[in-house]
């Protein structure tokens, strides 16, 4: 499940040594490129845990379903609150589903 980085929005976390997505990826797959933008070095190795997508402060990362498994332009967008997470899912027919639940009690 390759993460797709929007190069317009990505600011490489201000080109600090390790952007947030690179810090968090359990597979060490996100990396800061020469153009100071983040990218996934091996889409085939992604496990789609979506940690990168959740952590990006400018919302530049999108997790996409590989085309082998599903069809194009479906979206699943997490939005991190303080103790709550919201998910918006838009399927290929444009149907929108929304989910919200607490992910921390304190």
């Amino acid at each position: 499940m390759p993460p797709r980085v929007d190069r317009e929005k990505c600011d490489g976390c201000k080109a600090e040594e390790e952007p947030l997505c690179a810090q968090i990826c359990p597979g060490d797959l996100m990396v800061l490129g020469e153009n100071k933008k983040a990218y996934c070095r091996a889409a085939r190795d992604c496990w789609d845990c979506m940690s990168c997508t959740k952590v990006c402060p400018v919302g530049a990362i999108e997790t996409r379903a590989p085309y082998q498994l599903g069809y194009h332009v479906a979206k699943l967008i997490p939005m991190m609150g303080t103790n709550t997470i919201t998910w918006t899912c838009i399927d290929i027919n444009g149907k929108v589903e929304r989910f919200r639940y607490k992910n921390r009690t304190t």
Binding site: C25, G27, A43, D48, L69, N83
Partner: protein, 583 residues
């Protein structure tokens, strides 16, 4: 951020860190181990060595939707052991470990709740059980919560350090070695006791989802857990148990995501292309819907093999509210599955969720593969303790159980280290290891060799075809296993041709090397158990029935001098009375 590759071992700096308790692998069990250690003695130096970043590393990276298990009101730890035993077809299991785990289980789960994990409770405050033993949670933050607690308690965390080998003093483990995936340094951790909690081993077998482009890691289990912990112990002659009891499970087809959520949580039966409810139809004598796990894992595959596929979890009866709840569960554990359904525009009340068997894994939190440990969780290597999925003998630990194992292993380790002093550093040993670690990187960009991807794919197809992978519907036989051993030997010999072009590659290269070591032992285990006791997990076409001679544990140990894998058995001991085959 291209770094200049070192040209010589001398260019690679070494960091030596001394600590009291070293925890290799900062996952669920590892974090709990660290927390428990600091609780027992705040002055203890506790160090976590983690390949990724503990906030999201390991199998719980995306979260969890349930804690299986948590003993409900009215049930006892013995009840849990009985259930666990029956789930693996009566065992044999290490009932001593299972009992001590069950006795510490609820405390671990309650810890998590106190630290902020939302456990779903009803108006009266009772936890909502979805099966007999599993409680629903909103666990999207499960891993960060555990990781933060470990840090808050004062554990020293070294992120992005890949462990490669144990540090030994004769037969005693005195630490571990590895390298920095970001800084490229050689790391030596010296410790009075070591807990290895690196999780299970995924990617020994080729996943059927492994198409070329974007789905290589479309596995149920975390593909970043490769069995390094097992491999490090194997290389030092540690005794392993029950590796032949591989974990194979029914999973959503192609996506390879969890299915218990649906089948158990929403009572969706497994059906085949004809709409037959398989478990009731064909496995009623084994308990039907409550049949042991491996029956449920294998059932869809048998249907496919017999030409009655595809197979489904029948979700057509679910109400819209239930669908929403189910998707919320998935969002907590494997969120991309919701995306998967959306990418097909799939309405599961009309199109049920397709299921299939997964590729086989070695994961001691679900089955009982792993290190042979004593009641203190010490392995057969002195001062080396195993916690969580790395420890064998006790299946059905899952999240709660692995957390409890972390605590237990720490208690064992802390008791042990009271009398320990650290020896001088064995410079020859560390030099050898440093050379071994960095060899692929130092071979240089012009080296005519093999990439880790190539070697990994070769190994995975070998295991799949010859050691009972999904393409073979988990079946294997003596001749194929011998073939596998022969080629695994060649592969292991060919690791000298591995090259790495950067530190990430180097990490992947060592993952392949570790997987090969585990695969070899696994195949020996499969060879040795000449029966079929847990169909699917361990199917011998040449020995299709159970043989009472093998009502025991199958053990292995690598001979450090010869490198040969020695196989033997240990007897099963029933501690909790009752019918082994009934919960």
């Amino acid at each position: 951020m291209a770094k200049d590759l070192p040209k010589d071992l001398k260019d690679i700096p070494t960091e030596v860190i001394e600590t009291d308790l070293l925890i290799v692998g900062g996952g669920n069990a590892g974090c709990f181990a660290a927390i428990e250690a600091k609780k027992l003695n705040p002055n203890l130096r506790v160090t976590i060595m983690e390949k990724a970043h503990i906030s999201r590393s390991g199998a719980t990276a995306a979260g969890m939707d349930a804690i299986n298990t948590y003993i409900p009101e009215g049930k006892t730890p013995e009840d849990l052991v009985r259930w666990s035993r029956s789930q693996v077809g009566g065992g044999p299991i290490r009932e001593d470990l299972a009992l001590s785990n069950a006795q510490n289980l609820n405390e671990a789960v309650e810890d998590l709740e106190e630290w902020g994990l939302p456990i779903l409770r009803d108006e009266e405050g009772n936890a909502q059980y979805r099966g007999g033993w599993d409680v629903s949670i909103h666990g999207e933050q499960l891993k960060p919560i555990m990781a933060e607690k470990a840090m808050a308690m004062g554990a020293e965390v070294y992120n992005r350090i890949a462990a490669t080998s144990l540090l030994m003093d004769g037969d005693r483990c005195v630490g571990a070695m590895g390298f920095g995936v970001r800084d490229g340094k050689f790391y030596i951790f010296r410790a009075k006791a070591v807990i290895v909690s690196t999780g299970g081993a995924c990617g020994l077998y080729k996943s059927y989802t492994s198409d070329a482009t974007s789905s290589h890691h479309q596995t149920w289990m975390s593909p970043f857990n490769v069995g390094t912990g097992y491999a490090m112990g194997i290389r030092q002659g540690a005794e392993m148990t029950s590796l032949e009891q591989r974990w194979v499970a029914t999973r959503t087809k192609d996506f390879c995501g969890p299915v218990d959520t649906i089948s158990v949580g929403y009572k969706s039966s497994i059906t085949n292309a004809r709409g037959e409810r398989i478990l009731q139809e064909r496995y009623a004598h084994l308990g039907g819907d409550k049949a042991p796990r491996y029956i449920r894992a294998n059932a869809p595959m048998e249907e496919w093999l017999a030409g009655r596929g595809p197979t489904y979890a029948d979700t057509t009866h679910m109400t819209p509210e239930e669908v929403k709840d189910m998707k919320t569960d998935y969002l907590n554990e494997r969120p991309a599955f919701v995306l998967f359904l959306a990418a097909r525009g799939q309405d599961i009340t009309k199109d049920p969720i397709e299921i299939y068997g997964s590729d086989p894994y070695v994961v001691g939190g679900h089955t009982q593969s792993g290190y042979w440990v004593d009641i203190e969780r010490m392995t057969t290597v002195s001062a080396l303790f195993a916690a969580g999925e790395t420890a064998g003998g006790n299946p059905n630990k899952f999240v709660g159980g692995c957390a409890a194992e972390g605590k237990l292993a720490t208690r064992g380790a802390v008791k042990y280290m009271a009398t320990v002093t650290l020896p001088e550093l064995d410079t020859q040993q560390v030099e050898r290891e440093k050379e071994r670690i960095f060899a692929p990187l130092l071979r240089g960009p012009e080296f005519d060799g093999v990439s880790q991807t190539e070697m990994e794919e070769r190994m995975q197809r070998l295991m799949d075809e010859y050691a009972g992978g999904t393409s073979q519907f988990y079946r294997t036989n003596e001749e194929r296993l011998d073939y596998a051993l022969k080629h695994l030997k060649m592969l292991r010999d060919q690791t000298k041709f591995l090259y790495a072009k950067d530190l990430h590659d180097l990490m992947n290269a060592h993952e392949v090397i570790d997987r090969l070591d585990v695969a070899e032992v696994l195949v020996h285990h499969l060879k040795f158990r000449k029966e079929t006791r847990w169909q699917g997990w361990q199917t011998r076409s040449d020995y299709p029935d159970t043989d009472p001679k093998f009502d025991c544990f199958v053990e292995s140990r690598r001979n450090k001098e010869t490198g040969e894998i020695e196989m033997f058995t240990r007897p099963y001991e029933q501690i909790v009375p009752g019918d082994r085959y009934q919960p």
